[in-house]
Symmetry: C2
Subunit: 413 residues, 2 copies
Amino acid sequence: MLAIGAEAKAAARRLALAATGQKNTALDAIARAIRAQAGQILAANADDLADARRDGLAASFVDRLTLNPTRIEAMAAGVEIVRDLADPVGAVMAEWDRPNGLHFERVRAPLGVIGVIYESRPNVTVDAGALCLKAGNAVILRGGSDSFRSSRAIHAAIVAGLEAAGLPAAAVSLVPTRDRSAVGLMLQGLGGTVDVIVPRGGRSLVARVQAEARVPVFAHLDGNCHVYVHAGADLAMAEAILVNAKMRRTGVCGAAETLLVDRSVTGSHLKPLVSALLDAGCAVRGDSLTGLADPRVTAATDEDWGTEFLDAIIAVKVVDGLDDAIAHIERYGSHHTDAIITADAAAAERFLAEVDSAIVLHNASTQFADGGEFGFGAEIGIATGKMHARGPVGVEQLTSFKYRVRGTGQLRP
Amino acid sequence: MLAIGAEAKAAARRLALAATGQKNTALDAIARAIRAQAGQILAANADDLADARRDGLAASFVDRLTLNPTRIEAMAAGVEIVRDLADPVGAVMAEWDRPNGLHFERVRAPLGVIGVIYESRPNVTVDAGALCLKAGNAVILRGGSDSFRSSRAIHAAIVAGLEAAGLPAAAVSLVPTRDRSAVGLMLQGLGGTVDVIVPRGGRSLVARVQAEARVPVFAHLDGNCHVYVHAGADLAMAEAILVNAKMRRTGVCGAAETLLVDRSVTGSHLKPLVSALLDAGCAVRGDSLTGLADPRVTAATDEDWGTEFLDAIIAVKVVDGLDDAIAHIERYGSHHTDAIITADAAAAERFLAEVDSAIVLHNASTQFADGGEFGFGAEIGIATGKMHARGPVGVEQLTSFKYRVRGTGQLRP
């Protein structure tokens, strides 16, 4: 494992200096190799699936593990999207002159070596690999052991693409063992070679990574997202956004988990909002006022306010105005994504300023919490920490920066 | 200690929402309180100094500990400089629209709670306190135990200023004990309340913080800075920059520690450069070619290439062109600040692109590695890590950001 770290670090140095054209050539070759090696990838995946079924793994788990020609084509097309993104490396983020004539530039530079630890979703192998490569980083991938053969077959296609472009194979490494101790070694930083860890998977994986990592982590533990229907909300807009935020996809981190309704509009808004959720198939756990709105509502417990259901369940609470709503979100939320629905611009500005979350929205669905929807092209995840990356982690967030200073012989007095 | 963390976190929430005017009023009141309470501060400092002399501490240590009216006025004036800096909080870093009409903004937001661990330099108490306050952060200060009474007297002035402006005293906390275990608790994050640690002091302090901290650290361990005199260097410019980079102040992190001279100009440049250093009072440890240039040169050991002397000593090596110079810097450097002297623009561009340091300079002294010289107004230190802050850590680097998204009822398809 330490050798993998050292090789990745050496590869990172070469990648950091690789021209945009060479990186794009590699991404192009990777997409072609994935298509060309679809047969081998599907055969490896069939072996993984046979074991998963034999071991009686859950249907949802088996579904995430499953590859088919459509999913393989989607992987290849995803690489082409990353190929077409602007290269962040070398981009000038700011520049200025000083009175002594020195010219300063702040320019994007790669981070170095990124460790990605993920569960048995084989597509992460190529999604994460392509994104790190574009940003000039080397990546060490450690996928779930149940997808080991699938990931290895996909990795072979990535290596073929790298080598076709003259880039080192160690630019995208796959931990060559199912041994779980490899994860612990990565979290320790592999002898100082790993610069950041990105976990991709469920809460227990992220919690372990956050607890044990001795290197920075880009992640979110929970996405306990709120929709706050303010006194000034248009009911039809609130209803449409709420149902979209909760029910479009219930298993994503940007799905709404709690609805807060302003006390002043409970008479007009509470019953229609709750009924719309119930009619859309969502279970509603509400406080006492919400319980009066519809007999199908069950009583919420204190635990419900802090729960990311990731299912067709929502907690509903009546709040005493904007301050109470913000205080509730600060107390129970996860600083991921929260929305206010209102026609009152001043209330919206206060909500956007005062809610301390990575993403705050006014009159839009929380399900827009996604790098693609932000226009980033692709993302490796969403971070709720405040260090370095916050919100969707795209190709720019996978870079650092440096200062270039140009002079004509300046001495410091 | 855990109570200090909890109070700082609550204060951070209030500071994050404080208007620029209120923060500036506090900074103004802090500057006035420092001047008004100069007598108490000097009396407390006299007690610290008496103990330090009794304990036989080194003269340089006692000098850093010493306050006098001039140094107190400099502290107050430093607070006024921070007051006059632009408030980074709320500044829009980027904004864009998406085809669906959503408007995105990336805006600066405070980091939260910053822990500053420093040695017995009482002025850091107010320098760090003011900078964190301006960026909307709460700060927990832990100064050296030999300056405890001085720091406590300065902290009393800070609290007077905060309270005069209606801000919580816990916005700037001073650990109220000399007990060394307090540092360990801060490095553990005080129950999740500390967001980042900034160590200010010597190598052993920084090394301990980097080894033990469970939260992010903004720091540099070494400033092993290089001046590379390329084949295309004008000799007079090289000589002036070199002497400034090495000798202006030898104890700062941006001081040059190694001179690399291109083999092709050893005949013309090596002897004058080495003589200029020697004549300026600098000891020269050189490789064999450098030894031939002047009898006063002593032989360099391999260890010298990796040493930050922080003294009037320099290591000098002849290198085989640009690639060799870059390879030497990558191998022995500390990714802090490195400079190339040349009239060859192409060589300069390659050096600026390929040397993986926080600050890279062309035809200017490495001693410009300083937040003030960058135009940041003030800095809390210089970071060589690649996460979040790199190079001088000023008021902007003490912030995070969030995304504000404004819609008109958009649903995600």
